[in-house]
Symmetry: C2
Subunit: 417 residues, 2 copies
Amino acid sequence: MPLMKSWVDSANAPDTDFPLNNLPYGSFLTGDGEAHCGVAIGDAILDVTALEEDGLLAVADQDEVLIFGDWTEFMALGPKVWARFRTDVTALLAEDAPDPVTLAAYMVPQIGTRMVLPFEVREYTDFYSSKHHAFNVGSMFRGPENALPPNWLHMPIGYNGRASSVVVSGTDVIRPNGQIKGPDDDVPRFGPSRRFDIELEIGAVVGQPSSGPISVAQAFENIFGYVLLNDWSARDIQAWEYQPLGPFQSKATATTIGPWIVPAAALEPFRASTPERENVLLPYLREPEPMLYDIALEVGLTPDGGTETIVSRTNYREMYYSAAQQLAHHTVSGCPMRVGDLLGSGTISGPDPHQRGSLLELSWGGKEPFGIEGGTRSFVEDGDTLTLRGAALGDGYRVGFGSCVGTVRPAVKLPEE
Amino acid sequence: MPLMKSWVDSANAPDTDFPLNNLPYGSFLTGDGEAHCGVAIGDAILDVTALEEDGLLAVADQDEVLIFGDWTEFMALGPKVWARFRTDVTALLAEDAPDPVTLAAYMVPQIGTRMVLPFEVREYTDFYSSKHHAFNVGSMFRGPENALPPNWLHMPIGYNGRASSVVVSGTDVIRPNGQIKGPDDDVPRFGPSRRFDIELEIGAVVGQPSSGPISVAQAFENIFGYVLLNDWSARDIQAWEYQPLGPFQSKATATTIGPWIVPAAALEPFRASTPERENVLLPYLREPEPMLYDIALEVGLTPDGGTETIVSRTNYREMYYSAAQQLAHHTVSGCPMRVGDLLGSGTISGPDPHQRGSLLELSWGGKEPFGIEGGTRSFVEDGDTLTLRGAALGDGYRVGFGSCVGTVRPAVKLPEE
């Protein structure tokens, strides 16, 4: 598919994340401080809440679907409504649209506009489905022979995260306190994490509910779209707490998501296959067709007042399990899923050292600090800004995710200290 | 404190769970199928939604707090409103109440009335804070020398559960399917859990939000009340999936909560201390005063068409960490908590074999099936009804939780099989 041309000039530039081919969904604050739903186009946002209010855009046959500035209710209406809306917005923004002059009054510049969470994150699950990441982390802790847990090649391993800690790009992240016990310490101490880290992930947004086990094919249909996702992780807190029930407070400080939900429909031309497998998967996990996507990803690290260094470049197609497989597995026990559930892919690492999606891997557990402009890093330092970016690369255009940004601020002192 | 007398005769019986001293909060369906908020008194329910609608009971200065038949909005109003409401309802139901005749029209019999979830479970966390339980389970898997994980005596270990799977007492539970791999199997198979289990717990209901670390004292104040909680667990699925990120699908089928939230205020006379500790806790986890409760608990198992056997009797005061300590720990990383968050205590086991709160422990991993009326059990069988009960025992009265009931139905066949 070539670039689809829009009357919005900036949407036709080859380097924009938001050509007409994309049309991702976000939520922004208007001048009155009200949340509105918006669709990104070039360097602008189309205010679709205002368009709906003014009767210029109808969502299904219902009124006021977008009135709360949140896409949850829209998602609940289902794939047919998603498809029709996308067709309607495409027509409004296409080169040959009937009335650009009217539409122009509903455009807001992206620069200077504050974004908010585009949906209510109902529950948040984080997976662990990049083989290179699992192998790297396992090698550090258990040696390369025992790197992958025995279950890993048979199912997408995941854990329930904390939905209340999900924030939108641009929100500062406060370094967590917690219990930390080094290998030579007799007892744990309490204090700020010294091994605070990021995880480069893609999050899948569940747009349709299910009340029992669903197939991989159905799971694929139930996914509304995808966001960039940074699962902030305190490695020292994690090391001490995670046995036997998994990560808890080490992952509960914040998870930052990008402001734009890229619709699954926009990613259709970029489908990719999961890799060849060592084991035959059980039938409930088999994909009837390719359900991953080819999405180039990168991580930038900018010290306080400094210059950005791109510290990692990888691709979503490195995943061993697709989001559809993860969602199908999630339901197999009968677990109900709801509109607004968010599924993190797990850290996405490629085979090469510069393709690692966490600082833990990039600095090999802190033993091999890596260079950045004007310094080195093992883990995140106060004042550092971490930026994730991603885009599916078409012929002369890109379907991008915008950026997913968070700056780390110093830990708070607790009154008890 | 002695029994407080009510004009509702059944509330003065020494064996009722619901004397005037209790007044727990629940939600029920009216004859019209509408959810209303109710307060249990003796064998009846006082319809407080109808009382509010008719202007006979005011919740703070706001109208229609109880109109949706859910206690979430009420909880959000905070401890002063909770206290005033409790005082007002106590006055309406006391022996010397001014107008029992009018009130009698707002009474619904408990028998035959269908209960629904009394609040929207925002997120669900399950802890692992009974030392006897942790020791029993650890002994089975790692031997008694290594039974307790090294972190266990230093912090309340917990994991995020799945809020969407929380159901109210009386809801059938469908035996889950999942991946299972026995110690002698080369590869996992897919099928119904053969080691389906219960966990006897008390759940703490968070009634006030917090946005950063809070003290144990503040955490105690933020807890609205307590419910019985059965965390259904598929032990064979759990054994294969839980390393390294903790339980996931093994705990996602269902968690049943009792229909009645017993207010923290009703449990005040029954406060109890956590046990003496092997280690000095870090300051952020220290309790300024006793924050556990003395609550007698039991588990009944009734085979399909058979007679109930009480298979376990224990007490909430066996916990090593209180709910206030769990909640304070939950917030230490900065994790935001919201109204309606539910915190499971973890399986409550006492030191004696008949005090064990799971079948896994009662049958010692299935190796020592235990006797019930007309048979034996290692794990739950299809058609079994499991009933949890609990009450704080006063002098001539009890502050009870009602019962928390679930019947297990056969697994579904998946289309892929």
